[in-house]
């Protein structure tokens, strides 16, 4: 294997390993804990490095993972005192731990080869140079083995505890009632996340680990609400961004991790804008449509309630229902186009169809029973829920 292929392979493995816990973090509204962990493991890494002098040592990973879990526990302990809210607790814990890490590095900078920049940003391009050699046989890059191992464990845990994870994510109470402790699952997830962050930080850095965890999951979440599909989609997005990012970095001669994040950001932006149901454009269009339809309904009900001519004059309606000119015009046109009203000599009148429609809608509003409007759902956003 040449170095190019190896880098892409490592990037893809890191992306998959991050995407899986990321999905659960996003669903459990704990996305920012990954940010906190990625920063606060620094002292663990530094202390581990002082002891072993090797960035790939398992002790380092264990220490860092322990620091990650300690972070979560500290945040929860502070929260439990009731003195500050959860987000403030997170915001207090990780900068403090990170500061300790930075100071530890700075104080020992002369005799230790560990750079804060390296921890924060990582450098994937160097990964193929650090090889695992057993009995003189080159087994490939160390970080590929490391991340491959973490990924296999994550996958194994995911398959073994999928049901439990699913239930506890969507209904912690039910999960506890069924006998699997949400606390154990919570800390299990946190441990997996910490280990993944530690394994990945060397390749992509502490901040970009967060991007690899949150962005694919968030992108997938905009496209589906099915957990399995969400997992698959986030893996696809992760891998796509990893490989796309590599080639972009190649082209621009810039940081691989930075490019990967940028591709992730681009993919997210596209989905955010254009996702069929939950994308920005779809949402804004739907909201606008609903607003018009609510106005239309109000308008029809108003007509239904008033027989006197002066209440039904086109000009008068403007001020009476207090709409801006443009909107009342849209509503009038929409109603007329659908044969719901008739305009004679500037006086608006409900047609038979309009009357029927209004009665049905009124009945729905009063009874709030869905079957009343079943056949209207095709024509109206408003009733589609």
């Amino acid at each position: 294997m040449n170095a190019q292929v190896e880098i892409q392979l490592i990037a893809a493995v890191v992306a998959i390993a991050c995407a899986i816990p990321g999905v659960f973090l996003v669903l459990r509204k704990m996305a920012l804990l990954s940010d906190a962990i990625s920063h606060s493991i620094l002292p663990g890494i530094v202390i581990g490095f002082f002891i072993t002098e090797d960035l790939n040592s398992p002790l380092l990973i264990i220490l860092a993972a322990v620091t990650g879990v300690i972070t979560v526990m500290l945040v929860e302990a502070i929260q439990k005192t009731g003195l500050v809210k959860e987000d403030t607790a997170i915001g207090l814990v990780f900068p403090a731990l990170f500061s300790i890490g930075v100071i530890l590095i700075a104080k020992n900078a002369n005799d230790v080869h560990l750079d804060v920049d390296a921890v924060l940003l990582g450098e994937l391009a160097f990964a193929p140079f650090d090889r695992l050699i057993i009995d003189g046989v080159d087994m490939g890059p160390k970080s590929l083995w490391l991340m491959g191992g973490i990924l296999s464990i994550t996958l194994g845990l995911l398959l073994a505890f999928f049901k439990e994870l699913k239930v506890s994510t969507f209904d912690a109470g039910l999960s506890a009632a069924l006998g699997f402790s949400p606390v154990v699952l919570h800390y299990g997830l946190m441990t997996v996340s910490s280990v993944t962050v530690v394994g990945a930080f060397e390749a992509v850095g502490a901040v970009l680990v967060v991007a690899l965890m949150i962005a694919p999951a968030a992108t997938a979440y905009l496209l589906t609400s099915n957990l399995k599909k969400m997992l698959v989609l986030s893996i696809v997005f992760g891998v796509f961004s990893a490989i796309g990012g590599y080639w972009m970095a190649h082209l621009l001669d810039a940081s691989i991790a930075g490019s990967m994040t940028t591709v992730l950001g681009f993919v997210f932006l596209m989905v955010y804008l254009f996702a069929p149901n939950k994308g920005l454009i779809a949402v804004v269009y739907r909201q606008k449509q609903q607003r018009t339809e609510v106005s239309l309904l109000t308008f029809l009900i108003h007509l239904n309630n008033h027989k006197e001519e002066n209440e039904r004059h086109v000009k008068h309606l403007n001020e009476h229902i207090n709409w801006q000119k443009v909107r009342s015009k849209t509503v009038l046109e929409l109603a007329e186009k659908n044969n719901l009203i008739q305009i004679d000599n500037q006086i608006v009148k409900l047609t038979t169809k309009g009357k029927e429609f209004t009665d049905l809608a009124l009945e729905y509003i009063i009874s709030n029973r869905d079957e009343k409007i079943e056949h209207m759902k095709d024509d109206f956003f408003l009733f589609r829920g």
Binding site: K29, V102, I214, A218, L222, A254
Partner: protein, 371 residues
């Protein structure tokens, strides 16, 4: 350099004076605006925005080609604001929750910023060195003009704060009510968010992207423990922030190889720790003491009830009884008996106690009316 030496030199040494003044002002403005961030439950906004500012710095450099701090900070401000509004857009228009939105903007913007920074570093332009000081901040690079800028911004911020005090306050505690009163909540909201972003951007140069959020949060979280009043909290937070700045600078200046940002953050963390433990109203220690006191009061009353139950059966309520009969009873200790005596509820005579008239009345009040 020793700490005392530092304070001696503070008034004569130009560099030290500038840096100390800079970090003090920064701490003050961060504490002031951080109070709003904390109370609005936007604590981690600072983290997201400080990261989101990075591409702005890089793009400002790419466009202008200069390292003029003010221009770079302007870029940071623009990209920080874009990040803020995107976060808000995501929360209101999609089902993504605020933590996901914050994390996304934080990491995606920062990653893009890193891409630009590494891209800039490869450019054949000798000017680019030192852009990465914004990552961790370098208080030592503060010059007088930076401090003046900070002071001006702090001044403007203070004036705005005083002008819109009523609006800010009411928006904080009841946004819906503010709307019904006819205030333009959107404008007030944008105004306060703008100033929070501005404070974050100002701090980038000194404490850097990564630690900026703590600068915003820690003084406010500490100040919150000492008071329930907004104005007091803001003043306290500003003072805590300023002191963190000064002490942090002093400690880092008096040691070798200590970057200022992390030290300032840790000093602020100490303020938080002290406040969490020792604040009289909410502090953990006093809370615990109050728990013990309540428990003792309860036991005292249990003793009184027991005595009352005995006294009820006698015609003379002050009929003496042996202290021994209290022994089996949980609420009884020598101390509680003494306290009861001090309250003049019981009279102790040798090995006997008897309920006084006052004690009987107190017990009647406590145990009969509510039954």
């Amino acid at each position: 350099m020793e700490l005392s030496e530092y304070f001696l030199q503070l008034f004569s040494d130009y560099t030290l004076r500038t840096i100390t003044l800079g970090t003090a002002i920064l701490g003050a403005i961060c504490g002031m605006l951080g109070s709003f961030a904390v109370l609005r439950k936007q604590s981690l906004l600072g983290d997201a925005i400080s990261h989101a500012a990075l591409p702005g710095i890089a793009i400002a450099f790419l466009i202008t080609g200069t390292k003029d701090t003010n221009l770079l900070l302007l870029g940071a401000l623009v990209s920080g604001l874009i990040g803020t509004f995107w976060i808000r857009g995501m929360i209101t228009k999609t089902h993504l929750k605020s933590d996901t939105a914050l994390g996304l903007v934080l990491s995606l913007f920062f990653g893009f910023g890193m891409l630009l920074l590494t891209f800039i570093q490869k450019q054949p332009n000798a000017n680019q060195a030192g852009l990465d000081k914004y990552l961790f901040g370098q208080a030592a690079t503060l010059v007088e003009s930076d401090v003046i800028l900070m002071a001006i911004v702090t001044g403007i911020c203070l004036i705005i704060l005083l002008l819109f005090w009523k609006e800010f306050k009411i928006l904080l505690f009841d946004a819906d009510y503010t709307k019904t009163l006819g205030f333009n909540t959107k404008f007030i909201d944008i105004l306060i968010t703008f100033f929070i972003v501005l404070a974050i951007v100002l701090g980038l140069q000194t404490v850097g992207v990564v630690l900026m959020s703590a600068m915003l949060l820690a003084p406010a979280a500490a100040a919150r423990q000492w008071t329930n009043k907004l104005s007091t909290m803001i003043v306290l937070a500003a003072i805590f922030g300023a002191f963190s700045g000064v002490f942090g600078t002093a400690i880092s200046a008096s040691q070798n190889n200590l970057s200022t940002g992390p030290v300032i953050v840790l000093v602020a963390g100490v303020f938080v720790l002290i406040s969490f433990l020792f604040s009289p109203g909410r502090g953990i220690i006093f809370k615990q003491i109050r728990v013990f006191q309540n428990r003792r009061d309860l036991e005292l009353q249990k003793t009184l009830q027991f005595m009352f139950d005995i006294a009820k059966t006698h015609e003379d309520i002050s009929h003496p009884h042996a202290i021994k009969i209290l022994n089996n009873f949980q609420g009884y200790t020598k101390a509680t008996l003494k306290e009861l005596e001090e309250k003049n509820w019981v009279a102790v005579n040798g090995q006997k106690w008897s309920l006084t008239e006052a004690g009987y009345q107190a017990a009647v009040n406590l145990y009969t009316n509510n039954q």
